[in-house]
């Protein structure tokens, strides 16, 4: 038994999903795309029901990646019931997707969500009448409070009937649909022929691929004919008829005011005015940053401390007992990667994800995107690029994942390159603050940030010039500012952390084991010996810093500790003089992303692009270090 949840973005679909399924949720990319969908299980009277959360879309036409994935999933999985989640306060626009679902012949149940807000806004929706018009069950729900969820699940499981409701298109389109449908064979299609015909007319690739060639040509001719006769594309008329019907129905079941009056006046929204919006943005970012450093740092202290007091000695004992270089390397490697997870993932990434989810759910991030969209276009980026960049200050891995939100692959890659090179992640920040900031003074740490910022701007403009492309224009809903739901935040964070661990942990484990084994065998320093002249003459750093650079691939903030451990002193200023620290921190900040970030890049862009970005970041880091060295010795 399978149920799929479909709906527009921002209707509370994910919240309904989390109410239905609890925590056993898997989130995956649809094969070959960067679109995510989640899957979970619901229990009902001893029966297990699979619930699929489709990507939020406005239509099933298949013109965006999200739409294509939603349609493909519906087509492949053939869910027994599709639950259309509707925003009760915006019934009119939400009905259009519902029409498409009904037209496609699914057993549809509608969840009339945000029913409480609709009531509060004095929108008296005549649910019984809506059910009669649409000939299907409509369940009022309040996802934030969990109301109506049981009844929704119950009805969805019972649902065995298709609605016979139809949107009538204008007579010209109807005659075309009838003509095409007559020539289609019922047994070839799993969706009603009417839907096939309509989709052929709109040129939906999912259908066009499977239809007989002469019919495809016929549909294309009809489409041309229509355009000549009416001067407009047929899709314009089809959508207009759907919205027209939606408007009529909304008026009939609600009465005068078909849509809620939104109270919040956007024109007065302070977050959207540069003079107030930018200071607010800086304030929010500073808050995120401070929370990350203090709360994250505190959690890290507790976790690493208790790990050091409990499990770590056990691993150390085992490693010492083996007496074999390789096995002890493996055991230490395992111990190290567990420690890394405790020191990095839980305190920083988790805290960061919680804050990110809150920023998203309040509707603030969308405002930041809108505020900066025009500005970002000058760097050849979308306003949406702000989100991955902000995420990048926490960790590059989720930041690279977040580039999915960008329109094209190219935009995604450019943004990923900018993030890995010029945005210091929390570990890199730890190095900058922990070395330069602590021993050489805050002004030097600030200088590094300024250099990174100008690198970001210069690189952005340069990449935009080299790789010619036009960023796709923004078009998205701006929801009202609202309180985030704790449950939604928890589920979102859980899914993201899980995804992060799946990618990062195996690599961290293998990498740690290899490095520890090399170290235990005493060959690591010898392997790095050829780098000595380069390190000393060009970068002006002690040869031992090369170890830190290599270790930085695993865990950037461990790089400092490595130096301390190898030199056998706890005072960093004994190893590096302030000038060296500056160069060291600068190189580390630009240097190759950690192994986990590399892995995500391979997953998202393929090995070639991942290598290219990595190689250029290493090259740039060394060149910048060399220039800094040369300038300092003038």
């Amino acid at each position: 038994m399978e149920i799929a949840l479909a709906g527009n973005p921002n209707v509370g679909k994910s919240l309904i999903f989390s109410r239905l399924t609890g925590v056993g949720v898997v989130s995956a990319n649809y094969p070959g795309t960067t679109v995510e969908f989640s899957e979970g299980r619901a229990k009902f009277m001893g029966m297990t029901v699979t619930v699929i959360d489709l990507p939020g879309t406005y239509s099933l036409a298949g013109n965006t990646d999200d739409e294509r994935v939603a349609t493909k999933l519906l087509y492949e999985r053939r869910p027994n019931t599709v639950v259309a989640v509707l925003d009760g306060t915006r019934l009119e626009r939400n009905l259009v997707l519902l029409f498409e679902l009904i037209e496609s012949g699914y057993n549809v149940v509608a969840a009339l969500n945000m029913y409480d807000i609709a009531r509060k806004n004095k929108l008296n929706i005549d649910v019984a009448r809506l059910e009669r018009i649409l000939m299907m069950p409509i369940i009022p729900t309040v996802a934030t409070k969990g109301e109506g969820i049981d009844s929704l699940l119950y009805t969805s499981i019972q649902m065995r009937r298709r609605s016979r409701f139809q949107v009538r298109y204008d007579s010209h389109i109807e005659s075309m649909v009838t003509e095409l449908a007559k020539n289609l064979k019922e047994e070839d299609w799993e969706i009603p022929l009417r839907a096939v015909a309509v989709r052929m007319l709109t040129g939906d690739s999912n259908v066009v691929e499977k239809a007989p060639e002469e019919l495809v040509e016929r549909a294309a001719r009809l489409r041309e004919e229509f355009k000549e006769g009416h001067g407009e594309d047929i899709v314009v008329h089809i959508q207009r008829d759907r919205f027209g019907e939606a408007g009529r129905i909304a008026k009939e079941v609600i009465g005068q005011a078909a849509t809620a009056k939104t109270k919040k006046d956007i024109a007065k929204d302070l977050t959207l005015r540069p003079t107030t919006g930018i200071p607010i943005l800086i304030g929010v970012l500073a808050l995120v940053f401070v929370t990350l450093v203090f709360v994250g740092g505190a959690i890290e202290g507790v976790l690493v401390g208790s790990y050091g007091a409990s499990l770590k000695p056990i691993f150390e004992d085992i490693a010492a007992d083996t007496g074999n270089n390789i096995t002890s390397g493996i055991v230490t490697g395992i111990s190290l990667s567990i420690e890394a997870m405790l020191a990095l993932v839980v305190p920083y990434i988790l805290v960061f994800y919680v804050m990110l989810s809150i920023l998203e759910d309040t509707g603030y991030l969308v405002r930041v995107v809108s505020l900066l969209d025009g500005l970002m276009h000058k760097f050849g980026l979308h306003g949406r690029a702000v989100i991955p960049m902000v995420v990048g200050f926490g960790c590059n891995v989720p930041a690279i994942m977040a580039t999915k939100a960008m329109g094209s692959k190219r935009e995604q890659l450019i943004l990923a390159a900018l993030i890995t090179i010029a945005i210091p992640c929390s570990a890199q920040t730890a190095i900058i603050i922990g070395s330069v900031g602590k021993f050489a003074g805050a002004q030097w740490a600030l200088l590094i940030y300024m250099i990174l910022l100008s690198t970001l701007v210069a690189l952005g403009i340069a990449l935009h010039k080299i790789i010619k492309f036009e960023p796709t224009g923004l078009i998205c809903e701006v929801p009202d500012l609202r309180m985030p739901s704790a449950r939604q935040t928890a589920v979102k964070t859980y899914i993201r952390i899980k995804e992060f661990l799946l990618i990062a942990f195996p690599l961290l484990l293998v990498g740690s084991i290899v490095l520890e084994t090399l170290l235990a065998m005493g060959v690591l320093l010898d392997l790095l010996e050829p780098a000595r002249p380069f390190m000393e003459n060009i970068l002006g750093l002690p040869a031992i810093a090369a170890v830190a650079l290599v270790f930085g691939i695993l865990r950037k903030e461990m790089a400092l500790q490595m130096l301390i451990v190898l030199e056998g002193t706890s005072d960093l200023s004994e190893i590096l003089e302030p000038g060296q620290m500056f160069r060291f921190a600068l190189v580390m900040a630009v240097f190759m992303p950690c192994l986990a970030a590399f892995a995500v890049m391979i997953k998202q862009f393929g090995i070639r692009s991942a290598l290219a970005v990595t190689a250029s970041s290493i090259a740039l880091a060394l060149v910048m270090g060399a220039i800094a060295n040369a300038l300092m010795h003038l």
Binding site: E92, E232, D233, V236, L272, G374, H377, G473, C476
Partner: protein, 222 residues
Amino acid sequence: MASEITEQYLKVIYKLTEDGGAAKTNDIASAMDIAPASVTEMLHKLDEQRYIKHEPYKGAVLRSKGMKIARKVLRKHRLLERFLADFVGIKGRSTHEQACKMEHALTDEAEHNLCQMMHRPQECPDGKKIPKCDKALTCEKCTSNDVPLSEVREGQRAVVSHLVSEDRDELCSMLAMGFVPGSEVLVEKKVSMGGPIIVSLKGTKVAIARDRGKLLHVVKVV
């Protein structure tokens, strides 16, 4: 509300002055098949009611009040001719005669729906232009005073007239958002620094990039 006879006069004057100039009493008389004397009397009356401007020996021209009625009647007339010819299958002069009687009974709503149903014809069966409707902004083709959304001021309401995009994906994503012809938008804010335009559309706020806003043609609501 103008009487049927007034409407008839105004329509005839409109037709006679369509290409410029004034309508002579004799021409009106022959077009309506009545005596010139009664025409002169009626023209005086119409002048008094400020539907037309009548100057002896020169002829009659419509004032804006009369023009509005005349255009509306003629529009109904020619739409009906189109309807009778194309949908009902009546041929020849009979369409004109029947339309002449029906035009006065047709309500504005019926006129609008008829126009929509026939996909907004531009000409009557004889090839004469159908006057554009004066109010219904939802008829995208009848209005030529559309502007790109990016040129609409903050706080101004507008109705989507058409979308100019050859890119099907782009077109569809805007349509799916609800930017269909006939839907009303309120420009809430144009974010500075080249930022997007934020509009209210069917109960939702939508941010749309300025360059996309150029593809969206709207008619301002006054």
